[in-house]
């Protein structure tokens, strides 16, 4: 059932993507481009989808490999994106300037580019990794790139001044995903998936806040 929902959602999104390539221009418009609202709509949908996948993959992994190992206690304070100071509650999220928040989102997305590529390949080596985990890893990587593209478009539209330098935090966790010791290696995966779930939720949440703020004037 869940898989079905997943497929349905992905199908929906893919269809949506298909539409992106040939936007319907209103008659007489010179700039045939999507409105900011449409851009946000799509970004939110995509972010929601990515987070959905991240949650699923994390849950599946935890259920299968992390039972009773106390990973959660070790996973504290070890996300590579932790150095990016992001809003931690509603007030902060509402107070931060929207351009800054957008740049933060970009930063987080960029920071995940690299680890997601490695995740998608390294996850294949996990012993008896189920197909559901494998395809989700690949799907998340692809969708993350799409979202990054979309966000760059939004930032380009919203940004008043110069675009900031590309902020992102590097990831050096690849060796840990290749550790010989199974317990350590599984923990490295656990931690990465845990952080992925967190960051994807952040992005989804920030985008929803931004959409309500910029498009609906805080009245969603």
């Amino acid at each position: 059932g869940l898989l079905l929902v997943t497929l349905l959602v992905s199908h929906m999104l893919l269809t949506k993507e298909g539409v992106t390539s040939m936007p319907i221009c209103p008659n007489g418009s010179v700039n045939c481009q999507l409105t900011l609202e449409e851009l946000f709509d799509r970004a939110v949908k995509l972010a929601t989808y990515i987070h959905f996948l991240s949650s699923e993959i994390f849950n599946e992994f935890e259920e299968r490999y992390a039972q009773g190992r106390g990973f959660i206690a070790k996973a504290v304070n070890s996300c590579h994106t932790a150095s990016l100071t992001t809003p931690e509650d509603k007030e902060q999220a509402q107070q931060i300037h929207h351009e800054d928040l957008l740049n933060l989102i970009l930063g987080v997305l960029r920071s995940w580019n690299d680890p997601l590529v490695h995740l998608a390949s390294e996850v294949q080596r996990i012993k008896e990794a189920p197909e559901t985990i494998l395809w989700k890893a690949v799907e998340i990587e692809e969708q993350n790139k799409r979202l990054l593209e979309g966000m760059e478009k939004i930032v380009g539209r919203v940004q008043s001044g110069e675009v900031e330098n590309e902020i992102y935090t590097p990831w050096d966790g690849l060796p840990s995903l290749q550790l010989a010791d199974e317990d350590s290696r599984l923990f490295a995966f656990y931690n990465l998936l845990h952080c992925l779930r967190r960051d994807s939720h952040k992005i989804d949440n920030y985008l929803k806040v931004l959409k309500c703020r910029l498009i609906h004037d805080n009245n969603c």
């Binding site: 206690a73 509650d89 509402q94 967190r198 949440n205 929803k208 806040v209 309500c212 805080n218």
Partner: protein, 826 residues
């Protein structure tokens, strides 16, 4: 010796008394010595149970003897130990002697003695239970002690206090069944160590002399061992919850406190910070809880929470609880739920549910997104129907059972993580029943009316009797085949024979086309004047005629009254409208304008002319997709079209009168030139006709409209001096100049004028013979060979064609089968 004596004496006594017993009053029953007991080895008592008293007052006497003496003594003291007992005091008790005791019951009639009891004092010793048990607890150095004290059993004789008892003590927690027994020794106190704190214990003691039996257990005493002075046990964190994704609260279960005052402290550290904080607010969320306000709540951060329980003896810490507030959001139930019953256009009621998010949840900022789920069931139902509605705050419910009361509840959940809220309070809604009742009433009325009609009908049937039967079921004429060419039959060339019988091939040959025109009157006058010639035009006809009468050409779609009809027609028969317009044009100008118009409109596939373009465009938009298919048909029957183009079909008034259904076809058939549907209709019309009028616009030079072959049979008469001359086709039987001409019977001359309709048309009748070309192929074969068909046969032909006509009229061109109209073109 002595025993023997006694027993023999008893036997004698019994024998003697048995005789006396016959009077009803007997000697007493045998008493029984129950027990003898010594409390302290120095005195003892014996008790007996009396036998039956024999109906008379009895005296009991206890005798005893000592094994060392022959002498028999009587009980020294009947009183001290109660009724039916004997107490032997110290003076009468010798521990070294065995006593032989007998009890004798005596009344007026006689006496009876118990069995003798041998008593050894040492073996019957059993003291009373100890008394004055008291319990104390003592706690020292984290150990709990239980201190029990008691007194030895009291004795009647104070001098015997020097006796030494052994004691035993047993105890158990109050709620348990099993006793724990402790041998105490000779002291009258005991200390039970390491008892469980906080448990209530029950204690009993008993005692025993150095010989004999244990006494009964003393009466119970119980005592609560006080809770010990221990550090508290581990508290447990039960759960943490955030109701609105802004603050959160954690609850814990306090540790067992050992009777001492215990303080609980919640400590937490946040991911990324070394520092350990204490709970900011213990009060807001009630006892044993900690409330984290907005300032203290961070998201995407793991809180490591512990609860420490402390008392004066020490402290204990719960297991750590790791919480990311993002995942523990559980909102309150939705509020402001309204249920509203609305009626759809079809008057079916449906339910509109609306609700608001819980007041705490700030969904406007986008920080929290809620999803809703509702459930409902009939009040008496068992199973809920659950419907997930996503982020909407309203929902419409259709197909609810009328007359039932429904219970509705809603709950909500954050979009990704978190838990469903509680269900909202139950809401009730009753779906009214009256809609169904109304329906029922309608159906009942319909039923009553129809049964009435049936009654009347059957009554009429009975009244009219036979005539009615004849009317409904006319006699079926036998088939007659005349005019088959015997020569052809003999030669056995089936193909030729078949072609003689009719045209079976497809596409039809020119012969078939010729067959189409049986009686032709070619005329170029105003069409509408053809119409009044029919004496009994149907309603449909009238409408269309009026339209065509008005020379505006508006007869198509503009007229609101006609719109439905037109639209229906236009779906199936786009060309009908077209030709009507055309005709109007023709009448107006009389010039060859309609040809271009027709082609133009045909290409457009819009059955309209310019004047009605607007409405027709609308119509065209509604044309179903089968139009293309329809036109495909057109192309296949190009040949027919040519023929038909030139024909206007009219039915002779006489025949028309029989079949009203047919009449509606006239205007259509008259004008159709490219529609299959109409062709089929026309074919029927024509086959039934005795007269066929062919209208020809002479000023139209288009050759397809005049089949050259047709012209062969046409005699043109100038009937009027109008600019539009009327052509009268005096033509012979269709087969007259074809191969079928070999059939002698078919060659006919049609010179008889049946009617002169108005002043434009001559209706020709063949000489008392009509061409009857029924639908199906075989009848065609028959009739084409047999023109002298009788009238009844013709009428059968009508009835068979009529249904097809009506079908064609209403059903559009969807189901046209070319083969079905084939034969009629012969």
């Amino acid at each position: 010796m002595k025993q023997r004596f006694i027993s023999s004496a008893q036997i004698i006594l019994q024998l003697a008394l048995t005789t006396v017993g016959l009077t009803g009053q007997t000697y007493p029953g045998k008493p029984k010595i129950i027990r003898c007991r010594s409390l302290e080895k120095e005195t003892f008592s014996c008790w007996w149970k009396p036998g039956s008293d024999g109906g008379l007052p009895n005296n009991y006497t206890l005798f005893y003897s000592k094994d060392s003496e022959e002498k028999i003594y009587e009980c020294p003291d009947y009183l001290t130990s109660g009724p039916n007992s004997c107490y032997f005091d110290k003076n009468h008790t010798n521990p070294w002697t065995t006593y032989i005791i007998t009890v004798m019951a005596t009344n007026e009639i006689g006496s009876n003695s118990s069995d003798p009891q041998h008593v050894d004092i040492t073996s019957i010793v059993q003291p009373d239970a100890p008394v004055n048990l008291s319990l104390e607890t003592n706690t020292s150095a984290n150990m709990s002690y239980l201190w029990a004290k008691w007194s030895p059993p009291p004795l009647a004789d104070a001098s015997s206090n020097l006796l030494v008892y052994h004691y035993e003590l047993r105890l158990k927690p109050e709620e348990k069944e099993e006793w724990e027994t402790v041998s105490v020794g000779m002291q009258t106190h005991y200390e039970v160590s390491s008892r469980q704190a906080g448990v209530k214990y029950v204690v009993q003691v008993r005692c025993m002399l150095d010989l004999g039996e244990w006494s009964e257990w003393s009466s119970e005493r119980s005592i609560q061992i006080p809770k010990e002075r221990l550090p508290p046990e581990k508290p447990t964190i039960i759960k943490c919850r955030s109701p609105e994704k802004e603050t959160f609260t954690c609850w814990w279960k306090p540790a067992t406190d050992g009777g001492l005052l215990t303080n609980h402290t919640l400590l937490y550290s946040k991911e990324g910070e070394e520092k350990v904080y204490e709970c900011p607010d213990y009060k807001t969320a009630g006892p044993n809880s900690c409330y984290f306000d907005k300032k203290h709540t961070s998201f995407w951060t793991i809180y490591n929470i512990t609860v420490r329980a402390t008392n004066e003896m020490g402290s204990n810490v719960s297991d750590p609880h790791y919480v990311d507030v993002t995942y523990i959001v559980q909102p309150d139930p939705p509020v402001n739920i309204t249920l509203e019953l609305k009626k759809s256009i079809k008057r079916k009621p449906y339910l509109v549910l609306t609700w608001s998010p819980p007041p705490l949840a700030d969904v406007r900022s986008g920080w929290l997104t809620l999803e809703y789920e509702l459930r409902l069931k009939p009040e008496e139902g068992e199973e809920w129907e659950t419907i997930f509605v996503g982020q909407q705050t309203q929902c419409k419910m259709f197909s609810l059972n009328p007359g039932k009361r429904y219970i509705v509840q809603i709950h909500c959940k954050p979009d990704h993580h978190g838990l469903w809220s509680e269900w909202s309070p139950e809401m009730y809604i009753e779906i009214p029943t009256d809609f169904r009742v109304k329906d029922m009433v309608v159906w009942i009325i319909v039923g009553v009316l129809s049964s009435l009609i049936c009654l009347i009908m059957s009554w009429i049937m009975i009244m009219k009797g036979y005539r009615m039967m004849a009317f409904i079921l006319p006699p079926v004429p036998g088939p007659k085949i005349k005019g088959i060419d015997t020569h052809l039959l003999e030669t056995g060339k089936s193909e030729e024979l078949l072609s003689a019988l009719g045209c079976h091939g497809f596409p039809p040959t020119s012969d078939c086309e010729e067959l189409l025109i049986e009686y032709l009157e070619v005329e170029d006058s105003e069409d509408q004047q053809l119409m009044p010639s029919h004496e009994t035009p149907s309603k449909n006809t009238k409408i269309i005629l009026k339209e065509t009468d008005s020379d505006s050409g508006r007869g198509s779609c503009d007229s609101p009254s006609l719109l439905p009809v037109k639209c229906r027609e236009s779906r199936g028969l786009p060309s009908t409208l077209q030709t009507q317009d055309v005709r109007a044009k023709e009448k107006k100008g009389g010039k060859g304008s309609w040809e271009t118009q027709c082609t133009a409109s045909e290409q457009k596939m819009l059955p309209c002319n310019s004047e009605s373009l607007k409405s027709c465009t609308w119509l065209a938009a509604q044309l179903p997709g089968n139009q293309a298919a329809m036109f495909a048909y057109h192309s296949t029957v190009e040949a027919f079209r040519i023929t038909l183009n030139t024909t206007n079909v009219n039915t002779s008034p006489v025949l028309v009168g029989n079949e009203e259904n047919r009449q509606s076809l006239y205007p259509i058939a008259e004008t159709v030139y490219d529609d299959l549907e109409k062709m089929s209709e026309m074919e029927y019309s024509k086959t039934d006709q005795t007269t066929v009028q062919v209208r020809q616009n002479q000023q139209n030079d288009k050759s397809p409209f005049l089949n050259p072959k047709l012209m062969d049979y046409v005699e043109v008469h100038k009937v009027r001096q109008d600019e539009e001359p009327t052509l009268l086709l005096k033509h012979k039987e269709n087969s007259g100049k074809t191969k079928k001409s070999t059939v002698p019977g078919t060659s006919k001359e049609y010179t008889k004028v049946s009617t002169v309709v108005d002043h434009h048309i001559l209706v020709l009748l063949p000489d008392q013979r009509t061409q009857n070309t029924p639908v199906s192929q075989e009848p065609v074969a028959e009739t084409s060979q047999n023109p002298q068909d009788s009238q009844p046969e013709k009428s059968t032909g009508y009835s068979t064609t009529a249904p097809s006509d009506s079908r064609g009229d209403t059903g559009g061109s969807d189901y046209m089968d070319p083969s079905s109209f084939m034969p009629s073109f012969k």
